[in-house]
Each structure stands twice: as structure tokens, then as C-alpha cells.
Subunit: 387 residues, 5 copies
């Protein structure tokens, strides 16, 4: 609560400093970046554990509970008004998936936690957005925290959104503040009566959801890859200070990605080795596939970071090279004309006794000498490879 | 002892060198930073182990012993005058928490050590501030060393304060030199008769205290995050030498944080895997939560370090870029006017036989030539993209 | 599908930006590089696992199925029109090797997967090019993904091509989009009736194929080594901006190699420790040899990366050194002639009362003074070691 | 032997190159640094193992054998003339500690090795100074190699001295070339009849000696910390080339420290986990304390290295910044006066037809124009923020 | 084969580019460096494993087989003409050591492989020089690959030479292309009838040989250490571009060393933990000694690399510092004289109405003003600390 206010305090003080900047560089953007990096702790400091307070900004107006219940034979899908409507399905052998969009209203979380007997710390973590991806094995259920990533074209930044997933005996709960569309393909597959997912248990559903989250990482990676592509061309062709700022921003975006992807690998690797009763042998083969994708995403993030570092180096040496060229032009101009000007200065002196001044050939001779000096300089610089 | 004097010796010699510096840069500040980095060993070199000497500076006037004893039914809270007053509670089944503020008087430590039979090295470590965070399992009790961090707005530096915690069968002892306020919320919860903490054992109290310490890290991290934010804007907008000095100082502050947080992760991970009888199964779930917070704090420290490094790079390339621009202005000015001055110099010569001088059109012609040369130069620089 | 189109969208927009660049730097090349780094996920995001879609570009016109069946006694080798032709050989004790060139037609993969009972995710991975090298142990067969590398002289880039290998009880399947020639020596050895390969099982054949893939890495490494060699000479002799761009490109190529070779080591190490029934004890000795080669290739990649980094550093300091030299020339010229010009300017003034002007010895004396000043400057710069 | 001569060969060739350098930079100092970094192998190359030759420089005139024998009841302390005098105490249950200062005379080592049956390689290692810290478990005794560090104020360098310690059933042998004073406090404690050390076994004595060695590291670390402190102020205030050289030297000193401290941690960690009969359970608690100190020393070394790296960066950017400022002054001066000089040059030309020259207002008008140009320039530079 | 030719192709093309370079920088040298870094794979790509082809350059004219057979009682040492001569000694209990110099004739390798039953891959590896150091445990014998290092003073480069060692029940075979002298001290010890080596088994002989190889590393390390020493002085005193090139070369040499030493540590560590029947318990103590030496050599290589990196940094900042100084001289000269020249230019103008020109005091007054301006400038620069 107090933290929220602190952030507000920074916003106005930051804004006036950079009023004429393009959107991608304005301070609001920066604050958003930082907000994603310095993750707030899960609750008011010192508050008792299990305090149910949503710690993130409110992003949607309405809490939305979407309910899907299916088995090989049938499918019930609808929006439910209250979380209680799903309680009866705890007893049925069908797979029940309840997705909660909007966490600022803590009622559904409290309700489901009480009825299904989830640990208070799990409920607290569901509401404290900004958690590090992790998996927790509890008796009777598994708790997963993931970060969903998307690329916000407007601000050119990577947005991350916490997804909490609880996998129980015959149900899956997913919680997120802002509704996303990464789960739509999974819903489509469930609706299709013949799909493999209909004949599998809730662990397969959980796999499908995690897989959809990881798949979405690749879209962000590609977007960043394109941006690096463009900057690579720009650095070689026409590096400007703004180029460097954009590389700098990009590196920061990749720090956000890294923080989502690194722990994810550990989460998947833990699930692969886990012998929790909620994960069946058959599903573990599929989880290995997700693990492979996570490792590959991680690989790509690291490679992109290497590329971005390479760009910074290239930029720096381009600037050094350009300074060198500017220097050369100055040196050539100055070195040719300064001696000539001196020569002209000599014969601009007003001494009475300068016998050369009276000679008719002196002027052309001096011009010739000047030409020779200039030619000598040009020859010298050419030999040095400067021209 | 000798070390204390050595530090004194440095203070005056350092001061005169920088008398006119702003507070954040003065040598006293620096010495304080260094003091936090080069941690002194725990005792006079070569002294026998278990020598009870307080190794840090005295920060409070009075030793203060605050005593809380509680169980689900009742609560006794008071300040006690002598450590002996808590001895009788060793026998009662209630949870007893004694917090000692002020370590320069070694009497309470010696007394408690003698009565409860703590190992001499534990007592020595309690008094030797500047320990690395660690956990030691002893028979019958656990010994934890942590570093409490706070951000001192006056000097812009991170202050660390050693907290020693001894967890026994039905008691918890905490020792620190300077009284802090991070434990106040825990005291509040104890006072509340219905709080979960009242019905749990001393290990849950220890968890609550450690959790409060770790929670306080986030305030420091946010403060540093804000500072990086501000510097990020400053580097892009108007980098000055002072900006760099502040980034440099910030990096040093983060070294202090790292030294507190890295070992903490190992401490928590050790406690999680521990099967010491003082840690109950139920509390371990809560310790995992603290472990997650510690890992996240560590993650954030590392990310902030990456950001600060990025700032240094950005600063350096900004300076390079600016030098380049200064060079361009000089080169353009010099390259345009030096040849023109040379031309003017030619016709300022006093040769008797310079037929051009007498021609009426010579002067305007030369002015025209000069204009052409200048225009040519401008065109050349424009083609190079310098203008 | 949508991704394919996205790439198309980039291509044209990228091209016009750099129309006059040499081939090695054109945007198509860059896009190709990036395409190799940001590996696309294996399928349409959110699509059900096991969806059989080829995710890479179509590189060959025709699917080509080459079939070899052999034992110590005999050899049957031919091109087959349909994958079904190889089904009967599943029952024979002879070793059967079917190589599929061209993956855009998913029919052979689907056929073989159905008949031999491969896991749907394996079939999906065969078709999703851009996988990270890996090994999967399934019941009854092993699945390997490798990247074949080749150096494309035309674009100066490293091309990678996914090879999938399935090793069953008495058969080996290999899948790739573009037919390569790395397997030709293996085919030769099979055709030679006395070769050891004829008397061994399918695991030895698989070893021989993997060995051929790894051997091909060395040709690429040598090619890059030669390039570094050339750049090393160039950086020391005549560093130009283009040199740096080529080092930059080279580093990027090595990122491609690293991504192929690093995981390969893990694959080989896994196979070495594996007790899967498809890998016999005798073949494991040979696999250790491949493992050694992979480690050595990795070593070489890392060393080449170190060398390339060293080149960048050397280039940067060369540029700094050269700027320094340019500065020296400018400083020497300016420092010598600017004071002289000033002296000449003094006596070019038109004051009526300048008694020196009338003295006959004044002019030669001033020339002498000028000479002395110039000589003094030269002496000064020589003492500084600048000349 | 041959190596000794090689070093001699370098000394004179190195000296003449830098005859006028201050002490801290002279080549002898450098050679000493290098000598500490490139540790010579333990013996003449190819010589049989167990060859007893002292490989370091002779630092003391006399071999000194100091003998202490004690138990709870009594104490015998004296200098002994020959190593044989301690042999009888092998049979007594008292703790015997023989410290050998001076290794160039191999007789005591050979004698003690023969009588107590130490492995030839142990004896060889005792004499071959420059070993990496290590612990070796032999039957009946433990062999430790440590590096004692001290800061030599005269040369400003860290001196390391090999300490060999053999811990047997009821005796401890320590060997070093140069007598140090780090053991004096331990001797004091032994002389004190009531000290804990008197009632413990030889493993506690060994612990006390190792602890004294590690304690001495902190004095060196503080000394280096002070130096970094001073350099930090210097870099910000008035960076000169000498500052950089001293940072460079400091970094080299820290390489020396690292080489002593890193392996020490492994040594202590090995002893902690060891179940060798010479290490009792009670002493292991104390060893953990030493382990903690070693880890903390290591931490500090790494932090100091980070600080020194930060100083180099700061120095570099300070230089860049200063170059930038120098450039600005030059550019401002040149940009203001070069155009003015050109204008003056125009009207210094001797054309006969320059109508302006005759106008009375021309001169003040030109002066006004010049003033305007100069003011314009100043305004321009002020707007750029250069003035 | 084809590779050999490829290298030939490069040689001439590389040579003409740098015809006037000193020996240390010529392209042949570089190619040699590269040849040591990009290790060729062991055989023609795709050739069957076990193909016996020597892959390195032929360095000696004649194959030389030196034979030593000994036990405690006697010694037979001679050169043998054919490898068959050693076969009979397979049956005797004496230790037989056959050293083969020259691998271009594959006959001895093939012969010994056939008679003693070595694995084809071992024989292939013996002939394929450029292997990574490794150890292979086979039934009945151990196979070791090491790299012998020597410093070639002529080219200033580190030469590495592959040593293959096969340790059997009562024999040791060593193979190398070029005869070295590192084994001479071992031969001496064998000839000495009383040496410990005469009473030990073949594993002790193998230890002695490996120890001799590792001992030789130290000579190379010292040589490189001396070179760094010299460069350190040079960088501080008079850094030139050539200094940087030599640091660059040195770094490359250290990459060669690293590639030999890193894997060696793993080899020795493997042997220490090995329970292969060919390694006796008593010899393992000695192997630990070699392991210690290898670790120490590795430590030294890493330290030298750190030092070399420090030198590059120091060089770069020296250049920056020098550029700064050059700039200062230029700025001071230009800033003093450009305004003065302008003043002189003013009074060199030919306006008719310049009343000052007629005043007698004007000229000395102007000279005074000029002096004042110059003095002001000097004062300003002195205050800035530039003079």
C-alpha cells in the first residue's frame, strides 16, 4: 500500500525532467521498466504470512471467472458469477479448469483457498504479483508460478504478467490479473471433442497451459531479434546517440526476459524429476518437451544478449573511428594551410629592408614554393594512408 | 583494539585531503564504506577463541534488554534490567524472546552464554560484528548470523547491522548493537492474542524475525532502484563527471548488499534441508517462503548491478560521442576559415610585382572565390553528415 | 504459418535500407543470421503437441528416400518411392538405414511414425527444424537431434541443418531437409564388404553417422580459423572500419556454432552414460571417441571466440593509437607555425612608430628568431618522443 | 639449481632499463612480484621425487629450532640445537611442538622425516617453497601447506611465506624459512597454565596455529583496503598516470592474495569433512570458525578486486572526460578567433580597389562586426552547454 | 590429406601480404599459432575409425625406437631397428619401456597394436596428433594423451607436441613425432641402479614420465612470465604499438598453454580416483603430487592471463592519457597565440582611418596588451593544472 504511494510520488517528479522525449524514452516508461526489475516483496513488510492483499496495479475493471469442465464424453463451459459454483465439481471425476482474471478482488482466492484447503502462503503468493517463477509441491496439489511475457509495441517494452497455476486431483486453477489470449488455442482444443486433451487428466491440461505460456515467449524473442537486426544495420550505417539509447533499452528488456526464463528452466527440470502423484508418467514426456523449449528460449535470450553486447562494442568503436576521421580532416587542412599562411605572413611584413619584395620573380617563386609545400604535405598524408 | 586505533589514525590523515567536498563524497563517508567491506576478523589476532570483546563501534548509550514471553493463553512483555531475570523462563513451556540492543557491554552475552551453555565461539561471534551471514547447528540450539540493511538518506549509503539469533528449545535470543524498528511489526503480531504466531513454537518466532529482516532488504533495493532510475535519466540527458561518481558510489553500495544477501541464500537453503530438532516440519514451509524472498532479493541485486554497469557504459560512450561532436565543430570552423585566411594572407603580401592587386575586379573576384571555397567546404561536410 | 509470413514481411522492408552494400553485409544475410539464432518454437503457438507441420523453409524440390539394408553377408541399396517399402525389413535381422531428404512432405514421417510406433512428439520434432541438439530415450528406440554445419562461401556464413536420427532395434532412420554429402563416406564404407561396419549392429551405424556430422564441424572451424588469421594480419597492418564489421560478423557466426556444439557435448555425454538397450558396450567405446571430438570442437570454438575478442580489443587500441598519432602531427604543425605566424603578424602591423621596421638587420634577425623558435619546438617535441 | 641461475641472469638485464624509477616501480620489485606469481615447481625438473633440496632463496643466517612440550600439568620450552633432541618426546603423552625456522639446511627435515617416517614427497614439499596451500592425509599424520602473508611497507607489496605443518599423534611440526611473529600469541597462550590450549591435544594446537595465520590475512587486507581508499579519493580528485600504475600494482598484489586464500578455503573445508583420526570432534567446531574466517577473507579479496576494477574504470572515464574538456577549450578559442582573424586578414590585403578602406566608419563597423561574431559564437557554445 | 593441401594453399597467399615484417609477426608464425589452436580432427572426415594415418607434419627423418628393459637386478638399454624386437619382453616380469620418435611411419604403431591387442581407436589417436589430453581405461592397459610444451625462442611461440603413453602390465610405450629431451633425466635415474624407480613397476615409470612432462611446463611458464615482466616495464615506460602486438601474441600463446593444462588436470584427477588394476596404491600418492603440480601450473596460467589483461588495460589508458597530453599542448599553444595573432591582424588592416596607428605609444601599448593576454592564458591553464 505504502509502496504504491511511493511509486506515485516518483512519477510526477520524474516527468518534468524529460518533457520533449519520444515515447520510448520517457520517464514513465523507465519507471515501468524499473518496476518490473525491482520486484516488490509479497506483502507489507512485517505483516503476518498469509495476509491476502493484491500487491500489483489493478488492470481490469471486473473479476472474470471462466469455468470449463470436461471429460472424454462431454464439456461444460461457462462464465460463473461466484467461485462457489465450481465447488461441487471437486467430487466429480471430470477435469475442471477455472481461470480467474483480476486479482484486486481477493474474494475468489480466499474462497477457493478455504474450500480446497490450500496453504495460506500459496494464497498470498497468488495475490503477490512479481513472484519469481517457481514450483511448490504440497500434499494433494502442486503450485506453479510463471511469468507470461508479451511485447508492448506502444512502449517498446516487454510486459510480464504473473500466472499462478494450482494443479489438484481433478482440477486446475489459473490466476492472473489481466486477461490474455495465450490460453485461447488450449480452449479451442478442449472444445474439439476428439482432441487428445479430452481423454487426459488435469496434469495434461496443466502441461498444455504451461506450453502455451512458453510458446508465447518466442513471439517476444522474435520481436526483440528483429529490433536487434534493425539496430545492427543502423550501427553499421549511421550510428547516432539515439541508437545507443535504444540498445541500452533493449538490454534492459532482456534483463526482464532473463528473470522470467532462467527460473522457468529450473521449474520444468524440477517437474521432470518430480514423483508427485499429480504428475503422471505419460505427461512427463510432454513436460520434457516444454523443458526443451524453455532451454531453447534461454539459449536464445543469452544469444540475444551477446548480440546486443556486440552492438554496444561496435557502436563504441564506430564512434572512435569517426573521431579519428574527423581528426584526420582537421589535421590535413591545418597542416597544409598553416605553413602557407605563415609564408604569406612573412611577406606581409612591413620591414623596409626586404630585398625579395622588389624582385619581379619573387611573387611567382613564392607561389611556386607554396604549391610545393602543399604538394609535399599531400604526398606525406597520402603515404600515411590518411587520404 | 589495535585495529580501532589504526582506523583512528586514518581518519585525520584522510580528512585534510578533501575538505571542500559535498557530504556524499567526503572521506569519512568513504572510510565508512570501506569499513563495511573489509570486515575485521572477530578478535585480536592470535587471541584465544572465545575471547569476549565487542569489535564494532559503540552506537548506543545504554544496553536495553526487552523481554517477551508468550503462549496461546497469555503474554508477558517488559524491559528487564539484568539478563538473569529471563533465566527462570528456561523451564517454562512458554516461548521466551529476549532482544539485546547494545553489545559494547559484554555482560548479558556472557551471562546468557554461561547459563544456557552456548559454545564460547558462538558468544565470540555474537560480539564480533561484521560476520558473514551463516547458520550453525549446535546440540540443543541453532545459531544464526544475519545482516540487517538500511538506507541512510543522509550519507546515501547502505548501513548494515549484525543480527545474531539463537533459537533454543523454548526461547529465542536476538543480539544487535543498534536498536532498529524492523521487529516492531512482529511485536505487534505477538501482542495480538489471535495471531497464528501465538500458537506456534519458537521456530515460528525465529522465522518471523528472519522474514522481517529480509523484508527490509526490499526497501533498500527500491531506494537503490530509484537512484539508478534517476541516474539513467541523467546519463542520457546531461552526463557530468559527478554522475559517474554517483554511479561509482552506487556500485559500491551494491557490493555491501551482495555481501549480505549472497550468504543469506545459503543460510536459508541450509535451514530448509536441515533436520535439526529445533526446526519443525510446519515451519519449514514458511522458511521456504523466506528462501524464495532471499533468492528474489539476490536476483534483484544482480539485476541492479547489471543496470549500473550498463549506465557506466552508456556514460562512457556519451562522453566519446560528445568529444566527437566537439571535434566536428572545431574541424568545420578551422577547415572553412583557415584556407580563407591563407587567401587573404596572399594578397596582404607586400611584393612590388603583384599585378592582380591593381585590377579593379580582383577584390570582388577574390571575395567570390572565398565564398566558393567556404560553400565547397560546407557542401563537403554536409555530405559527410557532420552538419 | 503466421511466423513464416512475418518473416516475409521483414524481408522487403529490410532490403531497401541497405541497397548499395556488398553481399556480405546485405540485410538478407543478416536476416538469415538472425533466423539461425532466434530459433522458432516447434509449432504454431498453442497448437496441440504432435501436430505434424514442417516449420522450416522448403529447400529441395523432391522428397528422396534412400534405402540401404545390409549385414555381413549382403547389401541392398536403392532409392525407394514410398516409405512403405521399408516396412517389411523391420522383421529381418539385417541393419536397415533409410535416409529421408526433404521434410516439406510430411507423408514419410507420418507413415514411418505410425508403423514403427514413434511418439507423436518425436515426429513433431523431426519436422520442426531449429531444434536444440538433444537425445531422447524412448522404449525400444533412441531419438537424436543434431545440427549439421557447413560454411557457405558465397555469404560467408555458417549454415546449419537439422538432422534427426532414430535408432531402433535393427534400423536407423535419418531425416533432413536438404541432402548433404557428409554421409557419402559412410555409404562407401558400407558398400565395402569387408568394412567393420558391415559386421556391426545399427548402433554402430548411428555412431558412424554422428561421427561424420561432427567431423564436418572441423572443416567449418578451420574455415573460420583462416578468416580470423586473415583478420589478425589486417588489424595489425591496416585496420579499417570494414575489418571491424567482419570481426563482428565472425563473432555472430561463432554464436551459431556454439549453439550447435555445446548441447552436442551433453548429448554425447548422455549416450556414454546411458544403459539403453539400443547402445551396445562395444559401440560405447566409439561414442567416447565422438565425445572427445565434440569436446575438442567446443574447445576450439571457445578459443576462436577468445581470439576474435582479442581482435576487437586490438582494433580498438589501434584506432586509439592512430588518433594519438594524428593528434601529434596536428599539434606539432600547429605549435611550430602558429607562433611564427604571430611573429610575422606583429611586423605586418601598420603602426607608424615601429622603429624596428627601419633597421636593415631587423628582417634577417627576425628570420633568425623564427628559426630559433621552430628549432626550439622541434627540440621540445623530440625530447617528448613525439618525433 | 638451473632456475636459480636463470633468475640471476634476468636480474641484471632488467635493472639497467629502469635506473631512475621510484622504489615501488623498480624492476627488482617487479621481479619479486613475478617470483610470487610464477611459482617454481618443487624440484629440478626430472629429478627423482623425494629429492630434498630447498628451492627458495635463503632468508636467514641460522637454522633455529624452537621446542615446546606441554600438557595440562607442565611446560618445557627451549631452543634445541639438533632435531634429535625432540625424538624422545615421541613416546610421551604430552603435546610436542617443534618449529623450524630456516629451510636451506635440509638436515632437520631429513632427520625428522627419517625418525617419524614421513613420506618422502612430504619432505620434498616442506622444502619446496611456493606450494599451493593443500592438505594431505597420510596414515598416522596430516600434512598442511599454508601461505603466511604480510604487507611489506618498504616495497608496498604482499610477501608470502610457506608454512608447512605436520600434525601427528602427539606432536606438531611447523617449518618456515623466515621466522615470523604470528605464532607469538599462541606461544603466550601455551605459557599461560590455565589456557584452554593446555588441556587440549595437538589438533587444537594445529588449529590455533592455522587460526593465527588466517588472522594475519586481515591485517594485509586492511592495509590494501586503506590503499584502495586513498586511490579512490585520488582518482576522483586528481587522477595522474602514477595513480593508474599504483592501481595496477595493487591488482597484482591481490592476485598474490587470491592464490593464498582460494585454496585455503578448500583446505579448511576438507578438514571439516575429514574423519582422519588426528582431528577430534571437539576441534572441528573450532575449525569451522577458521573456515568461516577464510571464506570471509576470500569474500573481502574479491570485493577489493571489484573495487580496484571500479577504480580503473573510473580513471579511464575521468581521462576521457578531461580530454573532452581540453577539446572544448580549444574549440571555443579557435572557433571564436579564427573567423575574426580571417576578417582582419581581408582588410589587410593590398588591393588598390577596396573602396571600404577609405570610409571613415569602416574600421569601427568592422570592429562591431567582429564583436557580433564573437558574441554569436559565445552564445552558440553557451547554448550547447560547453561554457 | 586434403587438409594438408589446404594449408599449403594458404601459406603462399598469406606471405606476400606482409613481406617486410619482423620474424615474430610474419604470417608463417601466425599460421603456426593457428595450427596449434584449430586442432584438426583425427582423421580424414568420414573415414572408418581406426584408420592409421599420421595427421601431423613430418618433423624427423628417421623413426627411432629406443628400448629400455629393467628390474631391480639389471638393465638392458638399446636402440632397436624394428618394433618386433620388443615383443618377447611381453612375457618377462621386467619393466619394458619403448619410446617411439617419429610417427610418419605407421609401421611400429600398427605392429605394436596388433601384437599387444590395443584398440584400433587408440592406435588411430596415437597417430592423430593434436588430440586433447585425455586418459582412457581399457581392459589390461591405460592410454594417456598429453601435450608436451616448449618455448621456441626463435619464433617466440609455445610449441606443443603430442605424447601418447600406453601403460600395460609390465610395459610402457611412449609415442611422439619429434624427439625431445624431457625424458633424459628419467633415463638417467633408470640407469642408476639404486634409484627407487628400478624397484617399482611400470606405473611408477609412467608417473615419472608424466611428471617430467609437467615439470617442463614450468620452464615455459617462467619464460612467459619473464616476457610479461618485460612488457610490464615497457608499457609503463614507453608504450608503442608494437608493445600491444606482443601482448596480443602472448595472450595467444597462453591460449595454447591453457588447452594443454586444463584437460591435464582432469586426466590426473581421473587417475587419482581410478581403480584400474594398472595403477597401484603406492603410485597414487605420487600421482597426487603430479596433480598438485598440474593445478599449480593451471593457476599460474590463469594468473598470467590476468596479468596480460591488466597490461592491455594499462596500455589503453596510457594511450588515452598521452592523447590527453598531446591535446593539452595543442590547446595551450593555440589558445595563447590565436588571440594574439588576431590582435596583430587588426592592426595589419589597411583602413585609412585607424587613428591608433599614428600614436607613438600605440605599438608598445599593444605589445603590452599581448603580453597581458598571454600571461592571462598561462595563468588560466596553470590554474586548471594543465601546465
Amino acid at each position: 500500500m505504502t509502496r504504491k504511494r511511493e511509486q506515485d510520488r516518483i512519477d510526477p517528479s520524474g516527468s518534468p525532467q524529460r518533457p520533449h522525449l519520444p515515447d520510448a524514452l520517457n520517464p514513465v516508461h523507465h519507471l515501468r521498466v524499473m518496476g518490473r526489475l525491482v520486484r516488490r516483496t509479497s506483502k507489507k513488510p512485517g505483516a503476518p504470512p498469509g495476509t491476502l492483499v493484491h500487491t500489483g496495479p489493478r488492470k481490469v475493471e471486473e473479476v472474470r471467472l471462466s469455468f470449463i469442465d470436461y471429460d472424454e464424453g462431454g464439456l461444460r463451459e461457462r462464465e460463473i458469477a461466484g467461485i462457489e459454483e465450481c465447488y461441487p465439481f471437486r467430487e466429480t471425476p471430470t477435469v475442471t479448469w477455472v481461470n480467474v482474471d483480476g486479482l484486486h478482488d481477493v474474494q475468489p482466492v480466499r474462497g477457493v483457498g478455504g474450500h480446497f484447503g490450500f496453504h495460506p502462503l500459496v494464497l498470498e503468493d497468488v495475490l503477490s504479483v512479481g513472484q519469481r517463477p517457481k514450483v511448490e509441491e504440497h500434499e494433494g496439489y502442486l503450485y506453479l508460478v510463471l511469468q507470461m511475457l508479451s511485447y508492448d509495441e506502444a512502449t517498446g517494452s516487454v510486459q510480464s504478467e504473473q500466472l499462478s497455476l494450482i494443479l489438484g486431483e481433478n482440477y486446475v486453477f489459473t490466476f492472473q490479473e489481466r486477461p490474455g489470449d495465450v490460453f485461447d488455442p488450449v480452449r479451442e482444443r478442449i472444445r474439439n471433442g476428439n482432441a487428445r486433451i479430452r481423454s487426459r487428466g488435469p496434469d495434461y491440461l496443466a502441461y498444455a497451459l504451461v506450453d502455451a505460456v512458453v510458446d508465447a515467449y518466442y513471439a517476444v524473442l522474435e520481436r526483440i531479434g528483429d529490433e536487434i537486426e534493425r539496430l545492427d544495420v543502423e550501427v553499421m550505417e549511421s550510428p547516432e546517440e539515439d541508437t545507443l539509447h535504444r540498445i541500452h533499452d533493449l538490454k534492459r528488456e532482456m534483463l526482464v526476459m532473463r528473470r522470467a526464463v532462467w527460473p522457468l528452466r529450473d521449474v520444468m527440470s524440477h517437474l521432470l524429476r518430480s514423483d508427485h502423484p499429480r504428475i503422471t508418467k505419460e505427461t512427463q514426456v510432454y513436460l520434457r518437451d516444454v523443458y526443451d523449449h524453455a532451454v531453447q528460449a534461454l539459449d536464445t535470450v543469452e544469444t540475444l544478449r551477446d548480440l546486443a553486447s556486440g552492438l554496444t562494442d561496435l557502436y563504441l568503436s564506430s564512434v572512435g573511428q569517426r573521431t579519428n576521421e574527423v581528426m584526420k580532416v582537421l589535421t590535413i587542412m591545418a597542416s597544409i594551410f598553416i605553413p602557407l599562411t605563415f609564408l604569406a605572413g612573412i611577406y606581409g611584413m612591413n620591414f623596409e629592408h626586404m630585398p625579395e619584395l622588389a624582385r619581379p620573380w619573387a611573387y611567382p617563386a613564392l607561389l611556386g614554393l607554396m604549391l610545393a609545400v602543399a604538394a609535399g604535405m599531400v604526398w606525406y598524408f597520402r603515404r600515411k594512408g590518411w587520404i
